[in-house]
Every structure is written in C-alpha cells, then in structure tokens.
C-alpha cells in the first residue's frame, strides 16, 4: 500500500485531529504574497503539534492558468518513473519540474516533490467521453489508489496546494511560499492524535481547484464516506477533509448546486428552523435535506473551501469549532482565532463570528457565486 510505503498509517485507520485554519481573499483579485498566510499561522502555533501543515494558493500560476497543475509526492525514483509513464499517457505535459524547496532542519524525510503542468491528451479525452474535469479526477484517483508510492496532492488550474509534516510556519518556509503571489490563500496546522503523520495526510486536501482546510472531527464520517463512494470517489486517507472535498465536488460539479445550497445540505438548518421559514423556503430546505440526507455533516467542523475565484467559510450547524471572519477594504479574512486575522491585518473594518451553518462566501468582483 502506498501509505505504508510513505511511513505512515494514514488510510488504514481513521485519525481524528484538532487544527488551526486561516484564509485570506482579495475581492479585487490583487496579488498577496504567501508570506502573509504563513505569518497568520505562526501565532496559532499551539493549535498544531508539528505533524502536518499546509497551504493552498489561488492565482499563483498565471503563466499556466489554463493547465492543470499536478503536485505529486513520490516515495522513490522507481515510483516516479512508473507514475510518469502513466501521466505521459494520459496527459500532454507542457512543463515539469521539482517544486522548489528551502531546506530546513525542522522538515525532514521529504519525499520527491514534483510539479507537472498538463492538459488531457486530446484523443484520450475524446475516447473517454468524459468532460475535462472528470477525466482529470479519474486520472488522479487512479494514481492515488493504484500507483504505489505516488500521490497527487494538488490538481487544479492556476492554484496549488503545498503541504508537509511539520509546523505550518516551517512548511511555508520549506515551500518558499514567500516567492508566490495569489489573490487567495488558505492555511492549515494539524494536531492529529495518533499518527506519525504522513505528508499526504496533511491539509489542504485538494481535488481539481477545490481545496479544503478543516478543523474538526466529524461524527457523520462513515455515513458520508459510504454514500459518496457510490459516486466513483474513493476515500483512501480516511480523513474528514478528504470526504468533505468529495462531497463539495459531487454537489457543485456533478449536481450543479450552488455553494449556498451546499451549505444548506452539509450544515443543514434544524427542522425546527426550517418549520419557521416562509412556505417556499421551507420547501426548498426540506427538499435539500431529504434528497441529500446522507451528506449532512454532524460533529464539529470549521472549513475554508477554496475554489477558482472564490472562498467559502463554513461552521458546523452547532458551531462546535471557533471561526471568525473579518473585512478590510476589498480583503476578507477568516481564521480559527482572531489573533491570526490581526496578524494579517491589525486594523479591520469589521470582524464577526458567523453563526453555525451560515456560510460566508466571497468571490472575485464580477464573479458569480457558483464555482463553475
């Protein structure tokens, strides 16, 4: 098994973990250095235990914005050779390179970390009768489930995830995030309870251009997992983030629901709240809860969902995890702790704690709410 080869137990047992998250978003699309989000994570050091940290940046690959950027961990050279044969078959590779890193004593045992800018092979795509995104999803799932020692941890366009075992601030240094600029960043520090930590198991978890950072431990995990696996997803990591990402992908990309509707499903209002709504709204909410009942997520979570052109912050329906959101000019910030926000921007126009189940969705000016 892949995960064993990567010196971890992830994917064989389920590992609960506590966490810290932070995010920033520029509505006007202005470029912000990755350093800002790394600094925000620094003040929440105690919310992580050094067993996982990571970031996602959007708008970071403008020169390749129409290509899928695959970020891949390899255990060793032979795994890389094996996997690259497959990548070459499935995709046209426009550019490939090692992801630049800065050695630090606090991050060790790194795998081989490579990046490929690719487009689906035209003929293969036609033969598959799939749309481009679905083609990429299947290729990624294929690599992650059947290629030992290879793991694709980022696969979106003009975005990328960067993650490792270590404290988030060290992960930021390691990946030289100060050299990237994007209009949206999310960050994550992990506090897993019983694992040596595996690089792939760190957050964000990404699929296409969705990335999720998450703090919590969902109690609905197996109900959600067993449902979503009916639709071609394969939960290999047994982590909450993985299943939440697949749920969001399924609801937005496959069911064409809006993010507000996604929030109404995964953090559905209580029936008593639904009863108190006007008839049309009541019917809408009842429909969503009934039709997608197995995708309700219970237990504590706060998530930041990044996607092309937008970001969503969402808490579980009881708000069992802290999360604050703030605004300053065109900037929107979210974090587990206000301190992290103040680190990014000491003077704020507005700061508040969204209610449980109440999504905060921000998009680029002129952009629609829907991800696609």
């Amino acid at each position: 098994m892949l995960k064993e080869n990567l010196n971890g137990k992830e994917g064989q047992i389920r590992i609960p973990s506590g966490c810290a998250i932070a995010g920033l978003f520029s509505r006007s699309g202005k470029s912000v250095s990755g350093e800002t989000i790394v600094n925000a994570m620094t003040v929440m050091h105690d919310r992580s235990n050094g067993l996982g940290g990571g970031f996602a940046g959007y708008g970071i690959y403008p020169q390749y914005k129409d290509l899928y950027a695959l970020h891949v961990f390899y255990n060793n050279v032979s795994a890389k050779e094996e996997c690259e044969k497959y990548i070459d078959k499935a995709f046209e590779v426009i550019n490939l390179s090692r992801i630049p890193i800065r050695k630090t004593p606090r991050i060790t045992d790194e795998p081989l970390i490579w990046r490929y800018f690719v487009a689906p092979h035209h003929n293969k795509l036609m033969d598959s009768q799939l749309d481009e995104d679905e083609y990429v999803v299947r290729a990624v799932i294929r690599i992650n489930t059947s290629f030992d020692g290879s793991y694709v941890f980022s696969s979106g366009k003009n975005m990328g995830s960067f993650k490792a075992v270590g404290f988030p601030e060290d992960v930021g240094t390691f990946y030289r995030l100060d050299e990237y600029e994007g209009y949206c960043w999310t960050g994550h520090g992990r506090y897993p309870t019983n694992t040596p930590g595996w690089w792939g198991g760190a957050h964000p978890f990404s699929m296409l251009d969705y990335s999720i950072v998450h703090n919590g431990e969902i109690s609905s995990y197996d109900a959600n997992r067993r449902f979503i696996e009916m639709y071609g997803y394969k939960c290999t990591l047994l982590t909450d983030t993985e299943v939440i990402t697949y749920i969001v992908d399924f609801l937005t990309r496959k069911q064409a629901l809006t993010l507000t509707e996604v929030a109404d499903i995964i953090a559905a209002p209580f029936w008593s709240t639904i009863e108190s709504k006007p008839p049309k709204e009541r019917e809408r909410l009842t429909y969503l809860r009934n039709a997608f009942s197995s995708l309700l997520i219970t237990g504590p979570f706060s998530i930041l969902l990044g996607f092309s052109g937008g970001m969503m912050a969402l808490n579980d329906r009881l708000k069992l995890r802290s999360m604050v959101v703030a605004e300053k000019g065109d900037m929107v910030y979210a974090a587990s702790e206000e301190a992290a926000i103040r680190m990014m921007e000491p003077e704020l126009d507005r700061i508040w704690s969204p209610m449980g189940g109440e999504p905060v969705i921000v998009t680029l000016e002129g952009g629609a709410e829907q991800c696609r």
Binding site: R14, P16, S17, G18, T193, G216, E217, S219, S220, Y221, D222, A223, N224, R226, F227, E229, M230, Y231, Q255, A256, L257, E261, A268, F270, W271, S272, E283, R284, Y287, L288, R289, N290, A291, F292, S293, S294, L296, I297, T298, G299, P300, R317, L318, L320
Partner: protein, 501 residues
Amino acid sequence: MPVDFMYPEYEIARNDSRCIRCRVCERQCANEVHSYEESGNFMLSDESKCVNCHRCVSLCPTRALKIVKSDHCFKENANWNQAAIKEIYKQSGSGGVLLSSMGNPERYPVYWDKMLINASQVTNPSIDPLREPMETKVFLGKKPERIERGPDGSLRNNLTPQLELAMPVMFSAMSYGSISYNAHESLARASRELGIFYNTGEGGLHEDFYQYGENTIVQVASGRFGVHREYLEAGAAIEIKMGQGAKPGIGGHLPGEKIVGDISKTRMIPEGSDAISPAPHHDIYSIEDLRQLVFSLKEATQYKKPVIVKVAAVHNIAAIASGIARSGADIIAIDGFRGGTGAAPTRIRDNVGIPIELALASVDARLRDEGIRNNVSLVAGGSIRNSADVVKAIALGADAVYIATGALLALGCHLCRSCQSGKCNWGIATQRPELVKRLNPDMGFRRLVNLLTAWNHEIKELMGGMGINSIEALKGNRLMLRGTGLNENELGILGISHAGE
C-alpha cells in the same frame, strides 16, 4: 394412548394463605385452568391447560399466584432434549404439522447483542439532547438522481412520494383478524399521535380506521384479502408482502372460525371460510412480475403513494434486494428470521431464514456497491427489541425499523406464544368479544405512545453521546459500531471492526 400424556410444562403455585377465593383467576382464564371447589372452598388448577400468559398472576389482588417451570423431567440428553421428545409424541399422536406463534425462540446468535455503540471523548464533543436540538425525523422513499431547476433557477421539487416519520420506527404488519379490533385501534391512534405509521397486514382495513389513513400502510399480500380501490387510496403507502421472517416461503392461514362478522366483511370473504394466502403471489413468479405489480399499484393510486416491498431475510437476500431496488419499489422492508407471527409451522419458523443484522448489512453494502442505495429506503424488522437495537440497525444502514412483538408487549402480551389458539387472555390475538374488550384502546394507545416516546429519548441520548445530532448522519455510519466475540466472517459481513480495533 398413555404415551401421549405430557406432564404440564408449568405449575401454578398458589399461596393458599393469601388466596381470598375472589375467583378472578377463574374468570380471567380463557384456557379454563382455574376452578373453584365450592364444597371445600378452595381453588383448583388444571396446569395442563396453562400457557403461562400471566393473566391470572397479573390480576390476582393478593399476589397469591405465580407460574413456575415444572421440575418434572426426562432423562437428561444433550441431543434428545425435552422439546424434541415431546414433539415426536405430539406428531405421532396427531399426524399433523406442528404450529407455533411469535418469533423464533431458539438459541441462534443475536447479533445486536454482539455489537457495541461508540461515544465521543475529548477530540469531539458529545451533545446534550436536553440542551441542543436532536433530530430523529426521517423520510422514506427514493431520492432523485439529479436536481432539476425551474426557468427562474429555483430548485424543482422532483421527489417521488415519501413517507415522513417523526422517528425511525414503525409498527409492522399485523392483520385485523390475527389481532383484535382494539389492538388495531391502539396501533392506529398511537401512529397518529407519534407521527409514524402502522401496517394493516393482509386483512383489509376496517371502515372505522379509514380516518387514520395518513398514518396507515395498507398491505397487499398473496391472498389479496380486503384489497380494493378505496383501500389502496386510504393509506399513505402500499406494501407488497412477498414474505415474512417467521415463515419465509410459505403463505398464511386464518382459520374459518376467526372469519366472523367484521373480519369477514373487511377481508371480503364469506363468514366461516378459511382465509388462505398462497405461498407465492400467483402473478409474481419472477422479478419482472414484481415490477408489474409495483406499477399496477402505482397506476391505481396515480403515483401518489410510495410502494414498499416486504421480503423475508433469506440466504440470497442481497441479490433479491438489488432486484427489488430496480423494480420501481420505493422502500424495501426486510424481515429477519426472529420476526413474529400469529401462527407458523414450527419447523419453518425455527429453521428457515437468516438474522436481520446480517441481512441488513449485506443488503445495504450490496446496494451501495451497485450505486443504487438511493433508489430505495431500507426498513429492518424481526426483531428489534429496544432503542439500542434501533440505533444499531440504523448504523448498519437501515433508514427505519419495523417493530411488532415489542408493540404487542406494550399492549400486554406476555409472549406465551399461543396466538394460534385464538384465546389470548390479553385481548390481543383473539376475536372473542369478551376477551377483546379486555384491551382498552385508550390505555393501549397510550402505552404504545409511551414506549416509543421513551425509545426516542434513548435514541437521542445515544446519538448525542456519539456527537451526532441528526439521525441521517447515523445511517450507515458503521464506524459507530464495534463487534465483540465475532469471527472475521461475521465482522466482514456486518462491515464493522472488532472492539479495540
């Protein structure tokens, strides 16, 4: 022949110093066990007639009575036990098939008792149902494959008819005839009060109970007794009964002596004629025939009602359920081998079928493997005994459960397993007016409401402990279960890990 004599299984222990000769026991026993000996002013009992239903014990005002197991015994034999020997005597005397009532009482494993439920500690908070909302409402029925939007972009309600249950428990099929009018009234009124459903069984629907139609599931079984257009339209859902856990593969038989008055009218058969339901539906010899009946019933009711297909848990249940899930049915009800009955051949009841826990787990897994779990809801029955069983069934993958024996116990049944005699002293499984009136529906309905209200509280406590505040997040959530003392195969079928893993 003396060989036919059997020493009674039970003895009536009467504390004579407490007995006040009020003769309540004598009046209450339809089996005529008790009698009064006037000359000597003492009570007699004929234990050979006693079925151990505790009616006399419960009504004795001075607690002078108890029933004890007889210590009369055969020579010990681990192979030829007492029951095996007695059954030989009975059959060699009568030449008949042995009959029994209620669910399989034999020593097969009860998997519910080998599964344990999870709770939150530290990493994830438990939720207090007294302080936070805790939801047990469920909808049964097919879920849409895709959403649809109207011209203005709003979501269209493209759901097929659904059943809305305030809690994931329903009363399963028991016909009017097999149980009494008062028992039916209790079930109907309790269902309305609880926001759930009861099931007519194959006996039609008494005209007095049409008013409870919104909480009624009307059954269509192989005999088609009592089925007509108004009947189908009266219920909230229609259940096709293909099989029953207590007697998979065979039909039903309500003897002519029970087909009297309203029962004959409700079943639409002449008084005194036996009501014999054939073993198969003679219009269903294969899965494609089932599809036709499903759609015939939907046509007859303008596609306004969900259709349930009830099957007994048998060896090949996963494949059978997969076929049903593609037949147009909205709900599959699976009845395990412990499920009850008003009368079944003993050999069938005690030897045919499989445990509901295994059947449910394998059906749920198969439907998910095939990607069709959303086509149908799953209802598990036979037998669910308490709220923990409900929680375990839902965690294995059920949408809701059916209970019947538990409901009858709430109405006073003492599980004497003599329903086939028609002399139920508790007024449940009888049509004798003087016995039926012992079951007061005002009290019966209240007891049913109490029972399920209590279960609902317990379900919420168990859910809260797991950090789950809505029942849909428990459905199929097998990580919440662990097995004890189960082998690899059993764990694999149940899809759960062993405790400690």
